[in-house]
């Protein structure tokens, strides 16, 4: 059983409440700019280390914003943010950045966006001549063909660092293991739990779930944006609280929390 309030669509009331509360908290923290304590995320910090390693070794960096299998979703946006940041650091250090695109048919859309973002970073750092569009080829619209070509690029060019953040499926292990074989530092991030487990085994650093989604704010160093990370923690704490209350209340014979969450 669930209760409804007109004009809210049936079954979406709790979702609407969650959205409104999150929106209000995010806006509040963005405006307040009170930087909360944010723990270090080793995988995100390692990007700078990876770029430094590439500069020292004089080798290129290879990065991917994922396959974008279902279009531009949250993980792909996080992947694009990470690619933008990597491109900025590479341009600053006058490094060659290779970003093989593809993996799904939807990746064609991401490709144009990614090329624009990377080129802009090189231009903003005054290194537009260092940007080479051939380093961002569209390899294939099929997952394994893309992964094979990605690995081929790594085997030929021997990059110092492999950064792969975004939507990743089974091919992620293939890419990260080949990265490991060629001696690259592998930094990865995925939103698919089974994949995260495999990537944890095969990568030097891995971003787990929300770490990847918060990376854009974490890297911006902007107090307002950093403060929005607090929203995630608060909402999560509230959800855990609801879960515990729900369990207790259910054990006492009332399904009020269950009804509320189904509403």
């Amino acid at each position: 059983m669930a209760f409804t309030i007109y004009p809210v669509v049936e079954g979406r009331l709790s979702g609407l409440l969650l959205f409104v509360i999150t929106l209000a908290l995010t806006v509040y923290y963005l405006r307040s700019k009170k930087v909360p304590y944010i723990r270090r995320v080793p995988a995100i910090d390692a990007i700078e280390e990876g770029i430094g390693r590439a500069t020292e070794l004089g080798k290129p960096v290879i990065a991917s914003c994922g396959m974008a299998a279902s279009g531009i979703n949250a993980s792909t946006v996080a992947g694009l943010s990470m690619l933008t940041y990597t491109a900025r650091l590479c341009a600053r250090n006058d490094l060659r950045l290779m970003a093989p695109m593809g993996g799904s048919e939807e990746s064609y859309t991401t490709m144009e966006l990614a090329r624009d973002l990377v080129e802009t970073q090189y231009k903003l750092e005054g290194k537009s001549e260092s940007f080479n569009i051939d380093d961002m080829p569209f390899l294939s619209g099929r997952q394994f063909a893309w992964a094979s070509a990605y690995c081929g690029m790594m085997l030929r060019e021997k990059p110092a660092t492999n950064i792969m953040v975004g939507v990743q499926y089974a091919s992620a292990v293939y890419i990260s293991e080949v990265g490991h074989e060629v001696g690259a530092m592998v930094i990865s991030g995925a939103d698919y739990l089974s994949n995260v487990a495999c990537l944890a085994a095969s990568s030097d650093y891995v971003m787990i779930g929300e770490e990847m989604l918060a990376a854009g704010a974490y890297l911006s160093k902007d107090p307002g944006q950093l403060a929005t990370i607090r929203t995630q923690d608060l909402v999560k704490t509230a959800l855990i609280g609801i879960l515990v209350i729900g369990l207790v209340v259910l054990a006492l014979g009332s399904d009020v929390v269950k009804v509320f969450l189904s509403s």
Partner: protein, 218 residues
């Protein structure tokens, strides 16, 4: 066109579009608003379809340049061009259900995919061998847990050690399931906050695109 230089312009567009998507999802609205929502979603599909062609033409151009300049591996460019254009011509001319298109699909594309997928087993094993090296209490615990699950899943494992089945089932249904739920909830909350940040023009990827427009205008 000075408004194009202002970030607010892009944020306003984002907010308007987001409202047309969010409002009909949560509220009962007049049909006209639902139509706008449908139109916006359809437009993204159309834009995506155009992007497919843009991407295809770009990659064709790139391969032609590679072949003309005899860059390393140019011969593979010839193969890519021949195969991709064959698929396009056959697919567009004869249709996706035609016997020739299906032959190309089943004789070349699928076996290639399956081969790469099969190779993954070896990569997973090598990654697992590194991950399950026991050098601390936690890694020891992980290895023991993995052994139980492996024994249950492996052929004959259940026959050789029937006592692992309840332990493995418990690990899968409670320990792993709990972690999965936590992961899903945190991912959903993270995605929600990211979408709000994006809507407010704060996310790095969007800022990057706006920088591009400003640069072009200058």
């Amino acid at each position: 066109m000075s408004f194009l230089k202002r970030k607010e312009f892009y944020v306003i567009i984002l907010v308007i579009v987001s409202l047309f998507i969010y409002v009909p999802y949560f509220f009962k609205v007049p049909q006209a608003i639902t139509n706008i929502e449908t139109w916006l979603i359809d437009s993204s599909v159309v834009i995506g379809a155009f992007a497919v062609w843009v991407g295809f033409i770009t990659s064709t151009r790139r391969e032609i340049v590679r072949i003309q300049r005899r860059r390393r591996g140019w011969f593979y460019g010839v193969i890519i061009l021949v195969l991709s254009w064959t698929m396009v011509i056959v697919g567009l001319g004869l249709g996706k259900t035609h016997v020739i298109f299906e032959f190309l699909q089943y004789a070349f594309v699928l076996p290639g995919d399956s081969t790469i997928y099969a190779i993954l087993v070896f990569y997973l094993t090598s990654a697992g061998a590194r991950a399950f090296r026991v050098n601390s209490f936690e890694s020891g615990l992980l290895t023991v847990g993995a052994l139980f699950v492996l024994l249950k899943q492996a052929p004959l494992g259940e026959l050789l050690a029937p006592w692992v089945v309840p332990i493995s089932t418990y690990l899968e249904n409670y320990v792993a399931m709990g972690a999965t739920r936590v992961f899903s909830v945190s991912l959903a909350v993270g995605a929600l906050v990211l979408s709000i940040r994006l809507m407010m023009g704060q996310e790095l990827a969007l800022v990057g695109l706006v920088e591009r427009v400003v640069k072009k205008e200058e």
